[in-house]
Symmetry: C2
Subunit: 212 residues, 2 copies
Amino acid sequence: MDRYRQTDDGGTAEGATRRRLPPDERRRQIVDGAVAFFAEVGLDGKTRDLARRLNVTQSLLFKYFSSKDALIEAVYVQVYIDRLSPDWPDLLRDRTVPLRDRMLAFYTEYSELIFEYEWMRIFMFSGLAGAELNRRYLEHMGGTILKLLLEEVRAASRTGEGPDMEDIWNLHGGIVYIGIRRHIYRMPCPDNPAPAIESAVDRFLRAFAADG
Amino acid sequence: MDRYRQTDDGGTAEGATRRRLPPDERRRQIVDGAVAFFAEVGLDGKTRDLARRLNVTQSLLFKYFSSKDALIEAVYVQVYIDRLSPDWPDLLRDRTVPLRDRMLAFYTEYSELIFEYEWMRIFMFSGLAGAELNRRYLEHMGGTILKLLLEEVRAASRTGEGPDMEDIWNLHGGIVYIGIRRHIYRMPCPDNPAPAIESAVDRFLRAFAADG
DNA sequence: GGAATAATTGATCAAACGATCAATGAGCGT
DNA sequence: ACGCTCATTGATCGTTTGATCAATTATTCC
């Protein structure tokens, strides 16, 4: 086996990989690789396959993570925790902006997050595995963002009582489903989900007379 | 280890399991058990765990299926193939019935299928694994049922051009997402999805002036 | 009731798995 | 230029995995 191997990270001008890396840099590289790897093959992916993809030995992984579970935990943190935007509530609450614009702004940002290949698949894998973090994320989502959405649409509605929580989930689910079609089922989808999102939000607001 | 074990299938009056079964009955029992088992733990579930749950030895499984993949193939057949209703197109095309009623009838039947725990989870597991059957199913769904839905809503629409295919997928996804919340994410959901489905269909038809 | 049939078992294999550890050698300071 | 440090390797352990097969025993048939 040759010692000086090439990186497969697709074109850093660096050429051959440095054999030794500073620990935090190597750790980051492993986590990044693990996110991509587990997103592709699932959380049952084998540590030897991951190591081969990273051009390191399998034993090295256990120098940086005490167990495979610890590595997966680090993947969760990278995928969930480090990517949440805390200012969505404020964005949605700002009534100086038309509700339609607020919702489109939110779903544009949000969809950029969740329509990412790695996010969508790891979320689904961990959801199926029953990960706690997953449920906490969704409960947080429903309890803050979607609840806020409900209040705002109701406040803007000129019809009877406006939507209920289940209607909000329906709007949300219809949008999320675009990402599911693309990344879970690998179906042909529009490159840009924005028009579909716009159409869904408009239909929703019009149905409750909460538009313009 | 005791020889005459009890079934855990929850209350057949039969008492102790018969030790020997006719091959086709045993085969059916294995497939049924495999569907429930793989739906719960995923397609990477171990044959020994499945065998323990069935109260048979692991080696017996390989008497009925030449490999684990062959068993999973049988699971796919049971879950997908054997549960399709071929008369949905006719149901949707029948213009002597109001479109709203047709759509509600379809989604009532369809949701009874897909909101089942086993169906939803195995569909998601196999989708993530990239199973061919999965994509074929969805392409069939889009190419026949949803395409038909598009035509019918357009025909009933009194506004400009009516929905496009992406709108139909959005309606569909919003409904499917109820099952995803329930069975994949195990979130608290309404016991009966009918009201939410009704609300979603009504909003959709009203948005395109295709109601009443 | 006893022999024939075959459904089922228990033991076992080779490969693959997560994990461990002594040996190695690349990169740094001096 | 050289030696020290520690990131990295290669070999290996104990288990678990899918799969095989001769031995066993429940069931059927006469």
